[in-house]
């Protein structure tokens, strides 16, 4: 009916719009308009605008969200169209890519058809959908339609047969897949009926090009026995079914997780561009004049924290990688986000007045469920190791664990509500500046007899070696500190330590939620660093590395901070350390990525390069490695808490190491070293597995370890005990 006369093309409303007034075409316009209206109606009915009121009422501080808009836009475009983060998981990534590109291609095709039939032709009488362009478009739509079907079938296979235990199961989850499949299949059947009726006849000008619709052509074989009338009758019914399905899909977006099609790209645009997942800044002056600390009311979150819950479509990648979930603890990062969303809807019932205005209700008047305890269980809040696996995995750039730290802050600083065993940790940090509560005057005892330069005696040094509490007080990790100073001295590094002037870095206090104690510790260190004009710092512990490098900036302490693996890697590559003695009995070595070194600071290669340079034993990888590494269980202050729910995280990781075929686990973090050493003992694997810190092996290979060269690594101090 287009009347263009083009032969290599097709009639757009074939069999739908007859001669004369195009009633059906007008009806279609009405239906499309209705679908869009129903979409917005659906948003209202599903509580979207109510949630937006809560989101815009949120008062919490946040980081920059719209700076460098152009960069943000490109980042978003690459992420959305290139699936940068989604493809991190190959199976889910590929089927989403298939569905996504099928969807995009079919939307593009539909838009072109719309412009041709409803804009260009009626106004200018130009028909561009012909010839090679038409054939190309036809092929394009057919191929991507098929790709989308393959994607949907893969998704169905996962939901019905693979059934990962972290996958959410709501009613809409299966419905969505069948819905999309039905739209795609009816689309191909409608096409096939048209092809059977109009192109299979050899006299048709389109007949030589019939395979430019490969799927439609193939399906058409099913209808080869049907009469033209039957084809036309079936076509009309299915065409309207397909159209109503597609329009229904638009409406359904408003009611379901499909809204992520809109919200997730927006959230990617708004992602934090800080080097670390931002934990809400508490300016020091706040402790003088604020009345409440941390978060226990929904509206104390930032608008972006709450907006995150809109972008979450429950994919569960954060659950899949969560060490707490994987050891049967009551924490699923996705559910934390979803619980906040549900809480937002529930709280709106109290917060909205008759005019639909959102009011923040004072604590004493509020009678609804509490955010802490009712919406999010306390055990959930304490289960998190802040390993960052959730944030790393989330394709929507949602910040899951920082929301829990806000809740911990309220519990700790306002309510003194924390696991009982943490009391001694806080007191130790307050009184002796270390979580072990060992006398602060013994902080430098590990260095006795090693002739380690003290900054107070030396005056200045290129590098401050910030040992940290583990290296200074924990017997296992003192050996690592000893190895490091031997290496530094042998390499001629100009360094010094602070000795008893050093204080706890405060990371555990911060992540447990005691920002007050953290800042007191941090400020004491910053003052000491500044008094000695320190500019470059080497840390032994990735936790100290992270707070010194990033978080101290908030308190006015800007230093160049290195983890020791960065320094050792450089010294080895520069030839300043010669690894002349291959170490015996290491067997295959596997490297356990510390969360705070890896995910937090992207240091993955340096430790591996050092291990390769040892020329002792081959390097094998565990199932979870690099950005997907599995936590040892000690982060987020969990080092200091009993692990009495579920199974033990350190044991799971140790088992992964055993499964890798390694005989030696190497760490570059004192917490990981402790946790994995304990894992080996607890699982009685000492015959098959041993743990070392990388620094110990470097010292051995460099021949600097005469005192600790014995197989068991016993040093004199232990003998003295």
């Amino acid at each position: 009916m287009h009347g263009s006369g083009a032969e290599i093309s097709r009639e757009i409303f074939w069999n739908i719009v007859g001669p004369g007034f195009p009633t059906e075409q007008v009806l279609l316009y009405v239906l499309v308009a209705a679908a869009f209206l129903l979409f917005f109606h659906g948003l209202a009915r599903s509580g979207f605008f109510t949630r937006m009121k809560a989101i815009t009422s949120a008062k919490g501080s946040d980081v920059e969200r719209v700076n460098n808009a152009w960069d943000r836009f490109w980042y978003m475009a690459v992420d959305v169209f290139g699936h940068r983060k989604i493809l991190r998981e190959p199976y889910q990534g590929v089927f989403h890519l298939f569905i996504f590109w099928g969807f995009v291609a079919l939307v593009i095709t539909t838009a072109i058809v719309f412009f041709q039939a409803d804009v260009i032709w009626p106004i200018w009488h130009v028909w561009f959908m012909e010839g090679n362009f038409y054939l190309g478009l036809s092929l394009f739509a057919d191929v991507f339609g098929l790709v989308a079907i393959v994607g949907i079938l893969m998704a169905m296979a996962r939901r019905y047969f693979i059934k990962p235990k972290w996958l959410d199961e709501k009613g809409e989850d299966k419905l969505i897949l069948w819905f999309i499949l039905a739209i795609l299949v009816t689309g191909f059947v409608v096409e096939a009926l048209r092809i059977q009726a109009t192109e299979t006849d050899p006299s048709s000008p389109m007949n030589p090009y019939i395979w430019f619709s490969p799927v439609g052509r193939t399906v058409a074989f099913l209808f080869s026995g049907m009469s033209v009338e039957a084809l036309r009758d079936t076509h009309v019914v299915l065409w309207w079914t397909h159209v109503l399905g597609a329009l229904g899909f638009i409406v359904f977006i408003a009611y379901s997780k499909l809204l992520h099609i809109v919200m997730t790209p927006v959230n990617i645009f708004l992602r934090p561009d800080t080097p670390q997942p931002p934990i809400r800044v508490m300016p020091p002056e706040m402790f003088e004049n604020a009345e409440t600390f941390g978060i226990h009311n929904l509206e104390e979150y930032s608008w972006k924290d709450l907006f995150d819950t809109e972008a979450c479509m429950r994919c569960g990648r954060c659950v899949e990688v969560c060490p707490a979930f994987n050891t049967d603890k009551p924490l699923m990062p996705r559910d934390v986000i979803q619980d906040i969303r549900t809480y937002m809807e529930n709280k709106a019932k109290f917060a909205l007045d008759a005019n639909g205005t959102y009011h923040i209700i004072p604590d004493e008047e509020y009678t609804g469920p509490a955010l802490i305890g009712d919406s999010i269980e306390k055990d959930t809040i304490w289960a998190c190791t802040t390993c960052m696996a959730c944030v790393e995995a989330c394709p929507a750039y949602i910040l899951q664990f920082p929301k829990l730290i806000d809740l911990r802050r309220y519990m700790v600083m306002m309510e003194s509500d924390f696991p009982a065993e943490v009391m001694d940790v806080f007191k130790g940090m307050e009184n002796n500046s270390n979580p072990w509560s060992i006398g602060a005057h013994t902080r430098a005892d590990w260095a006795k007899g090693l002739d380690v330069p003290l900054l107070s005696e030396k005056g200045e040094a290129e590098y401050l070696f910030y040992v940290g509490c583990a290296g200074a007080f924990d017997d296992l990790n003192k050996k690592v500190a000893v190895s490091l100073v031997k290496i530094f001295k042998a390499a001629g590094l100009d360094f010094a330590i602070l000795g008893t002037e050093e204080g706890c870095c405060g990371d555990s206090a911060k992540k447990i939620g005691n920002e007050y104690v953290y800042q007191a510790l941090a400020m004491a260190n910053i003052e000491t660093f500044k008094a000695y004009n320190v500019s470059k710092i080497i840390t032994m512990c990735p936790h100290g590395y992270t707070v010194l490098k990033h978080d101290y900036k908030e308190l006015g302490g800007s230093f160049q901070v290195f983890h020791y693996t960065e320094i050792l890697d450089k010294l080895i590559k520069q030839g300043k350390i010669t690894l002349k003695q291959p170490i015996e009995n290491l067997g295959a070595i596997t490297y356990h990525d510390s969360c705070y070194l890896g995910r937090y600071n992207k240091i993955y290669d340096e430790p591996r390069d050092i291990l390769k340079a040892l020329n002792s034993g081959s390097l094998v990888e565990m199932k979870s490695k690099r950005a997907k590494s599995f936590c040892c269980g000690a982060g987020g202050g969990r080092m200091w808490m009993e692990e009495d729910l579920g199974t033990r995280i350190n044991q799971k990781r140790t088992q992964e190491a055993e499964a890798s075929g390694a005989k030696t686990i190497c760490t570059a973090c004192p917490f990981c070293y402790t946790m994995l050493s304990d894992g080996i003992k607890e699982l009685e694997l000492s015959e098959k597995l041993q743990a070392f810190d990388i620094a110990q092996l470097v010292a051995k290979a460099a021949g600097l370890d005469e005192k600790t060269n014995k197989a068991g690594g016993e040093n004199e101090q232990e003998a003295a005990n």
């Binding site: 402790f287 003088e288 009345e291 409440t292 600390f293 600083m413 306002m414 309510e415 003194s416 924390f418 009982a420 009391m423 806080f426 009184n431 002796n432 509560s437 060992i438 006398g439 602060a440 005057h441 013994t442 007050y516 003998a719 003295a720 005990n721």
Partner: protein
Amino acid sequence: MNTVVCVKQVPDTETLIKVQGAGIATEGIKWVMNPYDEFAVEEALQQKEKMKAGAVSIVSLGPARAIEAIRTGLAMGADTAVHINDAAYYDKADPYATAAALAAAVKGLQYDAIFLGKQAIDDDAAQVPAMLAEMLGIPVVTMVIKFEVAADKSKATVTREIEGGQAVVEVPLPAVFSAQKGLNEPRYASLPGIMKAKKKPVDVKTAADLGVSEGPKTVVKEMTLPPARQAGKVIAGDDAAAKAKELARILHEEVKIV
């Protein structure tokens, strides 16, 4: 219920102690509230919370630095405090002089019960609770691990730790109670508690203000640290039998225990 809690500021248990004269060098010491006094503060607060009435007053004898221990108690939730800030008196004070100063300060306060730690972990004298009770002319119950008070505040039923067991004691109020570990779990001061503590009233007095003139009855003449721990010894020998023989010789001849 109104309560008074007497607290002492002592060196942190992990701090390095150096003997100086007949006392210790105070330089570089990290000072904390006596841990047993924390149980006393906690119990007073719990009683106040349970009865939903009354006030908790902290009383402490010590030099200017003792205000930190007082503020710790106030941060935990105590309402007011008396600081007998008198370094000269404190330096010479023995348990008797301490009890005399505390008694004088307590006399000006309203109380149904007085709580103290069972002993201070620095001088370990454990005399003050009993002496204080005697000077105030009221009963004392020591080593308390459970405390319950009658609704009319006329008497308390308390559980004491005794050798190998427990005893339940009934005592009329007011009375003095000394807290033993196990009585409760002392709370961690909340941040608003710490902030509020800075503004709570502390009545600063000297011994002379309180009219206390009695001096100490005892004088410390000398203080010594325990001998430093000897390094361990690895017993050498060709085989297990030789090592065992050498071990037996050392235990017999050097250590003289077999």
